[in-house]
């Protein structure tokens, strides 16, 4: 009979104590894994929504556009770029965009806005905005001729306009001349962000190009959407190679949306804090039960030492008992946490009804997704499992050392 077998039998000997320890390890492990998966899901969904609605995970711009955005700082040869990008399998779609600032006016007054020209044929499939229409419809290719636009609920309310109403956009073109365009509202959206619902006008790409004087082969930005956001690092290198020699710069979403990038980074640190707190609390139960187990068995340990068991072997036996508890507790906890995360990922947790007027919390003017779907990764499972297992082993050191710190003769005599 080896030490593992002996340790396992000792664990089964006091089923209640073992069960309490297992439950505390497993529940800490499960909760930590679920929370991490949930936070991952919120972060990735919010970032992906932002990337899909705006300029993709990878964006090509004129080198000077970041510092002083203006219609004259455009990206040329967009068609060629699209053709080459279509050969990179990781790129799901390419979004030419025309972004600008201006003022829209209705009979009720004028409001400063940001406008975004998008290709309705692409955007309808990829942009979350298309799924957040509360009235009317999203843009369709025919809107290029009809000058149809969509606006947010708050902007519509401020301008006292509704579906079918006309507004006038005033902006400057590539030559710096003030230009105007009459637009017709075909849809009203609600993204849950005051900044976007109250200050964004989305229109067909062709209309925005015409307004600011760009050709069909030019755009202020070209966004690349990735099928797998984790492939960003690899694809960005390919895109850089693709545009080498052209007067453009390639950016990651993290550069263009620094507030989201900071939020994600702080969220990762938050994961670790949450994990630490949960597992720290669970560790007291683990320490208590392991230590109790050792103290209750002083006589047994004294007898084993009397028979000639070396202190090292006895300590190894006690330590192995703790490791077995840790492994079993981790396995149960990870299974439970993973099952919970996968079930929540499948069915979703919808918190949209829990916020007032659909106003979600925002990060960098972008609404955080309130349709929560945890994302479970093997890395999370390995991280939580390793953390709990290592902690269990660290906690076991003190009881292990205590197990042989006994006076054999006195202990046997006292009992």
């Amino acid at each position: 009979m080896n030490l593992v077998k002996l340790a396992w039998r000792n664990l089964l000997r006091n089923k209640r104590r073992t069960a309490i320890t297992l439950v505390s390890i497993a529940s800490g492990c499960a909760f930590a894994l679920f929370v991490i998966a949930l936070m991952d899901g919120i972060h990735k969904k919010t970032i992906e929504d932002a990337a899909r609605m705006l300029a993709g995970q990878i964006t090509v711009e004129h080198p000077a556009y970041r510092d002083a955005p203006g219609p004259a700082l455009f990206v040329p040869s967009v068609g060629a770029m699209q053709a080459v990008a279509s050969k990179i399998p990781e790129i799901e779609s390419v979004k030419p965009l025309v972004a600008g600032q201006g003022m829209v006016a209705s009979a009720a007054g004028s409001v400063g806005v940001a406008f975004l020209g998008v290709d309705p044929a692409i955007e309808g499939d990829v942009s979350p905005l298309a799924r957040h229409m509360v009235r009317g419809r999203f843009l369709v290719p025919a809107d290029a001729d009809a000058r149809g636009v969509v606006v947010g609920t708050k902007l519509a309310a401020r301008m006292h306009v509704d579906l079918g109403n006309k507004v006038v956009l005033t902006t400057t073109d590539v030559h710096g001349e003030v230009v105007e365009e009459l637009l017709r509202i075909v849809g009203i959206f609600s993204l849950g962000s005051d900044a976007l619902d109250g200050g964004l006008v989305e229109m067909p790409l062709a209309v925005s190009r015409r307004v600011i004087g760009l050709t069909d082969d030019e755009a202020t930005q070209v966004g690349f959407l990735l099928g797998d956001p984790d492939s960003e690092e690899q694809v960005i290198a390919q895109v850089r190679a693709m545009v080498a020699g052209q007067p453009v710069t390639v950016y990651s979403w993290a550069t263009l949306l620094p507030a989201l990038a900071s939020w994600e980074a702080s969220g990762t640190r938050g994961h670790h804090v949450i994990c630490g707190v949960v597992i720290f609390l669970a560790s007291f139960t683990i320490l208590n039960t392991i230590l109790m187990s050792v103290l209750e068995r002083k006589r047994e340990f004294a007898m084993l030492l009397a028979l000639g068991t070396s202190p090292a072997r006895l300590r190894a036996q006690v330590f192995i008992e703790s490791v077995l508890l840790g492994v079993a507790g981790c396995a149960a906890g990870l299974a439970l946490g993973a099952a919970g995360a996968l079930a929540a990922a499948r069915h979703g947790i919808d918190l949209r009804d829990s916020v007032k007027d659909g106003a979600a919390p925002t990060v960098g003017n972008l609404a955080v997704s309130l349709q929560l779907r945890p994302i479970l990764t093997l890395g999370d499972v390995v991280f939580v499992g390793s953390l709990v297992l290592i902690l269990t082993m660290v906690i076991a050191i003190y009881p292990t050392l205590r197990s042989t710190r006994i006076h054999v003769a006195n202990t046997l005599r006292a009992n």
Partner: protein, 235 residues
């Protein structure tokens, strides 16, 4: 090696804070191989302390102790543990079997610590269980055995590793007279046939009657030594 155990002016004091209690006082004693000795005396006379010092479970405050030619006074805890493992068998009053091991695994345990091969351990353990009359009960856990059966397993464990010395502290105290008698028969046979040295600490007159040497302790000193193999001298 003439003597299995030699004690020379052994004293043991327990420090109880304000006072010191002297459990053994200047004991000079030797035990030859093959003795079947009983150490008697009232409670608190120092019987268990004497056995603990002989076994290395406790250390003398002063004096010298040699067991199987090893000066235990100078040994480290690890060396004492090794000495017990290789030379000494124990039979405790309350059996002290390992509860999570079956009878045969309990008997194997000391041999396992000695590093003997599994097949040899198993064969020897089966022989020992048969010798103590527990043939066929090797698969039972201690809780599934009666007190007498558990003590038989303890005796089998004590002798399985072929020690030169068996120390038995009140081995029949928790047993009925019939079971106690049969176990004493068994130990007498082992002493006679295998030459195993036994030192008992007991109040039990039936054990005293079987001993070929009797030592009486009183207040930590040898009060009386009798029978043919007497080598003790009171200090």
């Amino acid at each position: 090696m003439k003597y299995i155990v030699e004690l020379e002016r052994v004293t043991k004091e327990y420090d109880l804070g304000a006072t010191k209690v002297r459990a053994l006082e200047g004991i000079d004693l030797t035990f030859e191989k093959g003795e079947f000795t009983v150490v008697m005396g009232p409670s608190g006379s120092g019987k268990s302390t004497l056995l603990n010092i002989v076994s290395g479970l406790d250390r003398a405050t002063s004096g010298k102790v040699r067991v199987a030619d090893v000066d235990t006074s100078a040994c480290s805890d690890t060396a004492l543990s090794r000495l017990r493992l290789e030379k000494i068998g124990f039979v405790f009053q309350s059996y002290n079997l390992i509860p999570v091991l079956t009878a045969i695994e309990n008997v194997e345990y000391v041999m396992l610590l000695q590093g003997r091969p599994p097949a040899e351990r198993l064969k020897r353990a089966e022989e020992m269980l048969a010798a103590v009359g527990l043939d066929g009960l090797g698969g039972r856990f201690p809780r599934e055995l009666s007190g007498g059966q558990q003590q038989r397993v303890a005796i089998a464990r004590a002798i399985a590793a072929e020690p030169v010395l068996v120390l038995a502290d009140e081995p029949t105290a928790n047993l009925d007279s019939k079971t106690a008698g049969s176990l004493m028969d068994l130990m007498e046979t082992l002493n006679r046939e295998k030459g195993v040295t036994f030192i008992f600490s007991t109040h039990d007159p039936s054990i005293v009657a079987r001993a070929n040497r009797k030592i009486t302790l009183r207040d930590g000193q040898i009060a009386q030594a009798a029978e043919s193999m007497i080598t003790a001298k009171a200090s």
